[in-house]
Each structure stands twice: as structure tokens, then as C-alpha cells.
Symmetry: C2
Subunit: 279 residues, 2 copies
């Protein structure tokens, strides 16, 4: 059996190529697509992510605004900042970097984002629209996973997909997108009592659990397709790559798998939002 | 093993009893909780449902408004009617009876319902809030299923629930509620290739497929808990009751199972909405 390493850099490149002429067209009309990122506090990993997103904008000739708020920012101060960006016509997408410091009510902050600028699908309305099948901006990592499957022409319809994780911006929306693509979908999580037994049934596995090298190859069905959305310290994902590689028919590496496609998707959805402004 | 028939009439009665003093209190403050139902066209089953809901309001001393629109109503006319009810301060809940005639864009109509009056959880925002765990009014049939499980003290945490069906007001939200209650959840549907194999793993089965007597007892695990949300011509549900009864440890009958609890839940959520108006 041919084994495919699902190369996120190739997929991301394809997305970026598709954006170039669209960005040029917008610019000719005097409009520069702009992503605003908000970082609260000094989590070094989050700082890196935000920087990567800003740099990715720059490389494509897009604008980015980086708002960096101090650790002690209150929920209402954060909401105030979000509202200012909602009202700023030069901003087309708003990304609040997750996680925020624990004293902040992250849900309240997410909900403050204008649905038209919710390019990472974090609001409940954005999530609901995605799950019901007509959302404009799904959460970027779930959308990236679907894009990788599409790029490599992996059949989803009628397949059994098992998602490990149920976070609002990853496990839940990727379950919803796979379901809408006609997979039978099982969502597992920390309270799942028989994870290896369930994974043995999976044609497609999405690891979104946030635990380094958690999922072992011995738990998986031979020939399964594995998408690793985890990114943990030491540059490892949520799957035990070596043993999973052995059984997989297709697998995303970490790094170079889901990550770059997530960022490219964020740019794409920001450009789409800008295009709606320009009409 | 003791077999339990999950009696929806008992659960519904309990809900209604809990509402009586709340309704009295509202009335003392000059406020009568009011549900508006909208029926488009002349589907006899839908007429019956709407009548049942209106009668249920009456029996509890609640008000109900029945809007009956002709078959040829357009989407925009329906949306106009919904907006009028949104703006009517005497109305606390709006229920658009599903299904609407095929020429109407049901989703557009559902989305027109003010979230504060969306007591059947049909809007994408209502669905998203439910799925993310902070929704005020989940879709009534899913909420009824959860209430039955709660009433009969059936453990959900750590169990494997299999939902057959993925509609926006039934399969999807009941999957979401079960997931939030810490079940491992598999959502199956018409494209699921190995339904009996998956059902064999289920501790809890929710039938929400809309096909009479579709699910057979031989597909199920011994001792499984079966909730039948179907209601088809001939007063039969989505499960083959006789054979499923044999293997179940607990089972809802049709009629007298999920149905009455759904209606009681609708009243309860309308009363909750009225209480919010009164503060």
C-alpha cells in the first residue's frame, strides 16, 4: 500500500497562490485586506503564533494589525478593544489568540467579535452556521483539515471519522464539518472510556486533544488516515508519529502538516471578508 | 435485568407541575406567558402538532397565538410575519412548525426568529450556543431526550451514545447535548455504511431518522438504552419496538415517550422567556 505524507506546506502554497490575484484586485480598488490579531499577556508560544500570522499577511501583501494587551487586561477591556476593531472599517478579520489569561472570560470575548469579521469561526453564531452547513468562516484549523483531505482527494463520504477532542474551535467544528461531508463521526474526549476500541473503527482520525504523542499506532486500524492538529512543546503533535506512521495510509507530519494550512486558511478567510467589503 | 419503559407522560407531568407556580407568579405581575405558533400550509400532521401545542398552553393557563398562513406564502411573507411576532411584546416564544412547504427557504425563516424568542433552538445562534454549552433554549426534542435520561437517572458520562439522524433540530443538537454531558457520541445518517456494526457499540441509542420502524433489535447491544424521537404514520417510531424492547434495558414507547416531554419542554422554555421579560 502506498503511504502518503500529507504535506501541509504544499496545500498552504496552493491556497496562497490562489489569493495573490484576489489581493491584487482588491488593492487596485484601494482596499488592502487586513487581519487584526489580539494577544493578551506574554505566553511565548502565543507570541510566536501571532507573529507567524502577521508575517504571513505581510508576505502576501496584506496588512496586519497586532494588538498586544497586558496580562492584567480585564474581560471588559478586551471586549472594548474588540469593539473598536469591529468598528474599524480598515479591519476585515479579527483573531483573538487562544488561550487568554485565566481571569478573562474567553467566551464573552469571542462573542464580542462581529460575525462579519469572525474569520476564525469562534463565535457561537459562526460555529452554529458552520455546523448547520452554511457558515462563511469555519474555524481555521478544522477548515484546514478539510482542505488537506480535499487536496489529496481522500474520500470522506460514508467513511467513519473519529475526532479525539471536543474544544469549541477544533474538536467540535471539525466533527461538524466531517459530518456535513457525509462521514459518520464519533467525537471522543477525556471521558471516553474505550478510546483504542473506537479508534480501531476509524477510517479517518483527527487528533485534537492537546496531549503530546498521545495516540498510539497500535490503537489504529491498518490503513487509516491520520490528521494531527496537535502542536506541543518539543515540536510534536498529539499522535505518536513513529508508530502511527507504520499503520497509516496517509498522515500529516508535525510540523509541516495542519499548521501551515491553518494560517493560509486564516489569510483566505480574511481576503474573503475584504472582498465582501469591496462590493 | 430490570427493563424500564421510559414514560414520557410522567416526565412531562413533572415538568408541567414545576411550571404552575411560575406561571401564577408571572400572572400576578400582569404577564401571561405566550407562545406563538406559525403553520404554513395544510399538512394534517403539522396541524395536529400545532393544535396540541396550543392546547398544552391553554391547559397550563398560558396564552397561545396560532398564525396559520396559506400554502402559497412566500419566504419573505413568512419572514415578515416572524418579524411582527419578534416585535410583539406580548409574545415570548415563537415556534415555526417544521416542515414548511418546499418553495419556502426554511433556514431563512428560522434565522429570522429573534434569539430571545427562539424557544425551540432553531436559529444557528441558538444551535451554536447549545453546542458550545451555554445555550438558553436548546431544540425541544433534544432537550426532552436529555430530560428523560435525567429523570430516570440514566448515566451519560463516559457512555457511548449513537445518534441516528443529523437534522438541524434533532440529530445535530441531541448529539451536541450528549457530548456536553460527557458521552462519547457517534452521529450516523443515511450515508453511514455500517450502521448495525456501530449500533452494536452503543450504550445509548437515539433514533431520529424519520423512517418507520427502521432500527431493529438485532442491531443493538444487549442492555442498551433506546430513545425513539421518531413519530411516523400509524403511530410508530423510528425503531422496531418489539425487537428493540427485547434487547433494551430502557426504552421510550411511541406514543407516550419523547413526544409529550417535547411539548412540556416547549412550554417550559416559553415560561423562561416570559420570566426574562418580567425582570
Amino acid at each position: 500500500m502506498d503511504k502518503i505524507v500529507l504535506d501541509g506546506n504544499v496545500v498552504a502554497q496552493e491556497i496562497r497562490e490562489g489569493l495573490k490575484t484576489r489581493i491584487e484586485k482588491l488593492k487596485k480598488n484601494g482596499l488592502i485586506p487586513c487581519l487584526a490579531t489580539i494577544l493578551v499577556g506574554d505566553n511565548p508560544a502565543s507570541e510566536t503564533y501571532v507573529k507567524m500570522k502577521g508575517n504571513a499577511c505581510k508576505r502576501l501583501g496584506m496588512k496586519s494589525i497586532r494588538v498586544h494587551l497586558p496580562e492584567e487586561t480585564s474581560t471588559s477591556e478586551l471586549v472594548e478593544t474588540i469593539k473598536e476593531l469591529n468598528n474599524d472599517n480598515s479591519v476585515h478579520g479579527i483573531l483573538l489568540q487562544h488561550p487568554v489569561p485565566p481571569h478573562i472570560d474567553e467566551r464573552t470575548a469571542f462573542e464580542a467579535i462581529d460575525i462579519r469579521k469572525d474569520v476564525d469561526g469562534v463565535t457561537s453564531t459562526g460555529y452554529g452556521q458552520t455546523a448547520l452547513g452554511f457558515g462563511e468562516y469555519p474555524s481555521c484549523t478544522p477548515a484546514a483539515i478539510m482542505k488537506i483531505l480535499e487536496h489529496y482527494q481522500i474520500q470522506i463520504d460514508g467513511k467513519h471519522a473519529v475526532v479525539v477532542g471536543r474544544s469549541p474551535i477544533l474538536g467540535k467544528p471539525v466533527s461538524a464539518l466531517l459530518l456535513n461531508a457525509n462521514a459518520t463521526v464519533t467525537t471522543c474526549h477525556s471521558r471516553t472510556s474505550n478510546l483504542p476500541e473506537i479508534l480501531k473503527l476509524a477510517d479517518i482520525v483527527v487528533a485534537a486533544v492537546g496531549k503530546p504523542e498521545f495516540i498510539k499506532g497500535s490503537w489504529l486500524k491498518d490503513g487509516s488516515i491520520i490528521l494531527d492538529a496537535g502542536y506541543n512543546e518539543g515540536n510534536v503533535g498529539d499522535i505518536d508519529y513513529k508508530t502511527c506512521y507504520e499503520v497509516a495510509s496517509a498522515i500529516t507530519p508535525v510540523p509541516g502538516g495542519v499548521g501551515p494550512v491553518t494560517i493560509a486558511t486564516l489569510l483566505k478567510q480574511t481576503v474573503e471578508s475584504a472582498e465582501k467589503y469591496s462590493v
